[in-house]
């Protein structure tokens, strides 16, 4: 499930997207650079709880976000345990989880349109180097919305194959999936043009 904007009215929601993104980036960086000790793992957890409380998003949403990344937690911890002692393994997993969940605050409290506007503004100095900020923002928006569509297309391809008795296999799946994905890309291109995107 992708993190999506949750309506709210706290000061953090009203804060402009650019400075908010910068502030969260600093917090995420701070958490990421903590030493790999139990006390720092606890500190990362504390900062995360504090961030959700101060922002007004609340601990229920924090719980939802942690559940949402449960497989990342499991996989990160499993690999860490294989290669490093228990203390750094747990601390690293805690830092990664805290970084992801704190970063999610940005999307939870900011409409994508405002994020894109902030991104466009932030990238404006790079126009002189040939960068097109509006296009980059649009690509990001389309990428965010295309994930659930591709998932649905993949399920559709698999179901159609199962209905015809086709055995699961990488090649037999990838080719029809590519075909329907390209068709979707074509249709999406038309929709973008129709809505005024050149």
């Amino acid at each position: 499930m992708l993190t999506l904007y949750r309506p709210g009215t706290s000061w953090f929601y009203r804060a402009p997207a650019g400075p908010k993104a910068f502030a969260l980036l600093l917090v995420v960086l701070g958490v990421s650079l903590l030493p790999s000790t139990y006390s720092c793992a606890a500190l990362a957890g504390g900062v995360t709880v504090l961030a959700y409380l101060v922002s007004g998003v609340g601990l229920v949403e924090l719980g939802r976000q942690v559940v949402g990344v449960r497989w990342i937690i499991v996989i990160t911890l499993a690999f860490q345990v294989l290669f490093v002692p228990m203390e750094p393994a747990i601390a690293n997993t805690a830092r990664v989880t805290a970084a992801i969940v704190i970063a999610a605050l940005l999307v939870l409290t900011t409409r994508v349109a405002d994020l894109l506007d902030a991104l466009e503004r932030g990238l404006r100095p790079f126009i002189r180097f040939g960068l097109d900020p509006a296009r980059i923002a649009l690509v990001l928006a389309v990428a965010i919305t295309t994930v659930p569509v591709l998932t649905r297309l993949a399920v559709g391809v698999r179901e159609a194959q199962r209905a015809r008795g086709v055995r699961a296999g990488l090649v037999s799946f990838v080719i029809p999936f590519l075909v329907v994905s390209l068709k979707h890309a074509d249709e999406l291109g038309d929709a973008l043009t129709a809505r005024g995107v050149n």
């Binding site: 928006a141 659930p148 249709e187 973008l192 129709a194």
Partner: protein, 229 residues
């Protein structure tokens, strides 16, 4: 007076096939139905008017604008709704997707928000404003697509089989929105002859050729007669 839709000897070649073959017509009615079998050229006709495909030969004018040389002007005049609701969602949430259509207009934030509010209300999407657009039902997604087109206040709405993916209830809902009395011109590509008969004029295509223009009931009857095996 010049007709709003004029085609002069227009042909469209897509790859090896001739999708439209030497079509000439003038249309000034408000609600125009486009009917014909699969592959007859009706979607190409709609895409041509919407500036999504250029003519290979011939010329056309849509509300006084040449879609080939004046594509920016055309975008301001025309809204397009396609059959597949999933392929028309650009932004993650319902309100953001509706607002996306206004990004090019550089409106003040308050005005943009007000237009989004009004449009969502018109299409019964207000309560879904913050929902993930891709979690909506097919009918709701198509309403959102229509909302995204109407919010730009186009003079011409092109709907290419907008009810093709929908159940009877949602088809009726979408059709009622499209055919509701308003100032917009409508070009409705459809296989549903009852919808075609609610329009002011019908255009019939067969194998890329224009084979009839006139009273929707007569044209629909002629089309049905041609289907008898």
């Amino acid at each position: 007076m010049t007709a709003p839709i004029i085609l002069n000897n227009v042909s469209v070649r897509l790859g090896e096939s001739l999708a439209l073959d030497d079509v000439s017509l003038r249309l000034d009615q408000q609600r125009i139905a486009v009917i014909g079998s699969n592959g007859s050229g009706k979607s190409t006709f709609a895409r041509l008017l919407g500036g999504l495909v250029p003519p290979t030969t011939g010329s056309l004018s849509v509300h006084g604008v040449d879609p080939v040389t004046q594509s920016k002007e055309l975008r301001r005049l025309v809204g397009v709704v396609f059959s597949n609701p999933d392929a028309q969602i650009i932004m993650p949430t319902v309100a953001e997707d509706a607002a996306f259509s206004l990004r090019g207009e550089k409106l003040p934030k308050a005005e943009s928000a007000e237009r989004v509010r009004i449009a969502l209300e018109e299409f019964g999407l207000t309560d879904l404003a913050d929902r993930a657009a891709h979690d909506l039902s097919g009918g709701q997604k198509q309403l959102l697509a229509l909302c995204g087109a109407v919010i730009r206040r186009p003079q011409l709405m092109i709907a290419d089989e907008p009810t093709a993916y929908l159940d009877a209830r949602n088809s009726r809902l979408i059709a009622n929105h499209l055919l509701a009395p308003n100032d917009r011109r409508l070009v409705l590509v459809t296989h549903d002859l009852t919808l075609a008969e609610r329009c002011d004029v019908a255009v019939l295509f067969e194998n890329g050729r224009l084979t009839g223009v006139g009273d929707p009931a007569e044209i629909a009857a002629r089309y049905e007669a041609s289907l008898q095996c």
